[in-house]
Amino acid sequence: MLGEGIIKGLLETARNFVGSYVSKERLTTVQYPEERWEAPEASRTFPFLVYDGDEWLAGLRCTSCQICEKECPPKCIYIEKSADKKPDAVGKMQFYPTRFDIDISVCMSCQICVEVCPFDSIKMDRIFELSTDDRFEGLILDRQKLAKSNSYYHQIHPTEAAEVDAALASERAAAAAKAKAAAEAVAAKAAAAKAAAENAAPAGGGA
């Protein structure tokens, strides 16, 4: 009443005026180009494609199954499938994308492509300084621009990448075990066949 509230308010702003000089709590602005703020691990901007090893094309995990293309809410992914196959991260022969474009002027960073990808090949990046003067082609990332190494992935999302690597390793081990088992089975079969043949031969001889 009678200006008391106004005076209270004035004191509050005065407190903040002084506070902004003494307390970091109050002056929270990050002065961007000079100061940089470490984004949390979960932070996301646009998708990228993970590749293993050093050769980006050979190591690309993407098998161009096109699930992300179908699920993408704003339809910003465009994939063309290859005619031939190459081994994927697990070692199976798979198709690979001959064209993989993401139009980041359309992408809305929802990370649904990451969620639906069964091959752990598309992940969210943290880069954001992507401005360009070309409105159309400048904002299209093709597969080469999208491809980033697994070590980069480890760098920006360490926890998640470690989990993915562990899962892939076990898959690889399983695949290897399976392959080994298959090979053994083949070998055993061959051996069995040989043995049978050997068995049969004397028998035949006996007859």
Binding site: E4, E12, T13, A42, S43, C110, V116
Partner: protein, 393 residues
């Protein structure tokens, strides 16, 4: 397409209609027609009011919508259930997590999914944080519309920043969180995140006190808001006004209490009610509501259980609910946010409808503004708490 003719409405038919009162201009009857918006500093984006003025007194006001219309509902009918989720973030871009919850809830009803304990706790925590930051920024915007050069808004944004940091740490994005899934949530928070949230929530008490020091007792704010934009209890109910605006008019209707959705039953909180239904009541109801939100947050953060965060039956991709329909609604910060879904068994909904609270709360804008000043009309519009992303969809 059909050619239609607008039938003249008969008076008998409109007998019971709660129509806005009619004001005749005084004097020579000259009326100044001003089109406020779509580019006006305080119409919250691209909203327009066609105002008829007698001097500075408003004698007619027609809201004009649709400048941000993008046919969101039709978009939804063409997308899979999962792909709609990120689009709901963009309805009321201040409260993406509440929107997520509303939509997830409708789908859960449609598909009959259960939500695990832990996920329910997380949903409550996130929804209340969202409510806090929405209300705090709303108060800032209201003061801004009163001409307070942005100081309360800056303080609100300072605190909002802390909450958005929490959101980013958990969901990966500050505003477009896309966090909830049918039958739970997407990522499990770490223990550090929870303890950090506790710390932030503790700090927010001090902020609300400071905020109230700055504004609540201020004579200018009181004289600007008391007795302005009065909305009666009966009109508020009849015009489907919901949320803090209805409660400021004394309507005891909080969906958290009425529908017992989520696990709100377990927490102790009160529902503040206004008596006069003017802007000051709307302001105070929100202030008291964020204090209650803080209490809910403290209780919820104390009791987060372990366990899964997603219903094991649930799958997010390729969900195809059986034919049928469901209406799910939550108490979003702006009012009753409902999602109405009709499924025909396909991968995308046959009908996807949003009940946007701020759009429907605008129904009574003219009733509240008539007879007041232009300056008050702006303030009344501000007190409705609209976000154009939701109004125009």
């Amino acid at each position: 397409m059909s050619s239609w003719t607008l039938q003249q409405s008969t008076n008998e038919h409109l007998a019971g209609w709660n129509r806005p009162q009619v004001i005749k201009p005084e004097g020579d009857g000259e009326v100044l027609e001003v089109s406020m918006g779509p580019h006006h500093p305080s119409t919250h984006g691209v909203f327009r009011m066609d105002v008829k003025l007698d001097g500075e007194k408003v004698i007619g006001l027609k809201p004009v919508f649709g400048y941000l219309h993008r046919n969101h509902e039709q978009l939804g009918e063409k997308l899979s259930y999962l792909a709609i989720m990120p689009y709901t973030d963009r309805l009321d871009y201040f409260c993406s997590l509440s929107n997520n919850w509303g939509y997830a809830m409708a789908v859960e009803k449609l598909a009959g999914l259960e939500v695990p304990e832990r996920a329910d706790h997380l949903r409550v925590i996130l929804a209340e944080l969202t409510r806090f930051q929405n209300h705090a920024s709303w108060i800032g915007f209201l003061a801004q519309e009163m001409g307070a050069s942005g100081t309360p808004l800056m303080y609100a944004f300072r605190e909002r920043e802390k909450i958005l940091d929490l959101f980013e740490e958990l969901t990966g994005s500050r505003m477009m969180c896309n966090y909830m899934r049918f039958g739970g949530c997407r990522v499990d928070p770490t223990a550090e995140w929870l303890s950090e949230t506790r710390k932030v929530v503790q700090g927010l008490h001090k902020f609300v006190d400071e905020f109230e020091n700055l504004l609540t007792g201020n004579e200018i704010l009181m004289s600007r808001t008391q007795g302005v934009g009065v909305l009666s209890h009966d009109l508020a109910v009849n015009a489907s006004v919901s949320g803090p605006m209805a409660r400021a008019s004394g309507v005891n209707y909080d969906i958290r209490k009425v529908d017992h959705y989520g696990i709100y039953d377990r927490f102790n909180f009160r529902v503040p009610l206004g008596e006069h239904g003017d802007i000051y009541d709307r302001y105070m109801v929100r202030v008291l509501e964020i204090r209650e939100s803080l209490s809910i947050l403290e209780q919820a953060l104390k009791s987060v259980p372990g366990g899964p965060i997603l219903d094991p039956k649930a799958k997010s991709r390729g969900i195809r609910p059986k034919a049928g329909e469901a209406y799910g609604r939550i108490e979003a910060p702006k009012g009753e946010l409902g999602f109405y879904l009709i499924s025909d068994g396909a991968g995308s909904p046959y009908r996807y409808r949003i009940r946007p609270p701020s759009f429907i709360n605008l129904t009574v804008l003219e009733d509240m503004c008539l007879g007041h000043n232009v300056a008050d009309a702006i303030l009344i519009l501000g007190s409705v708490d609209i976000v154009l992303g939701e109004v125009d969809r």
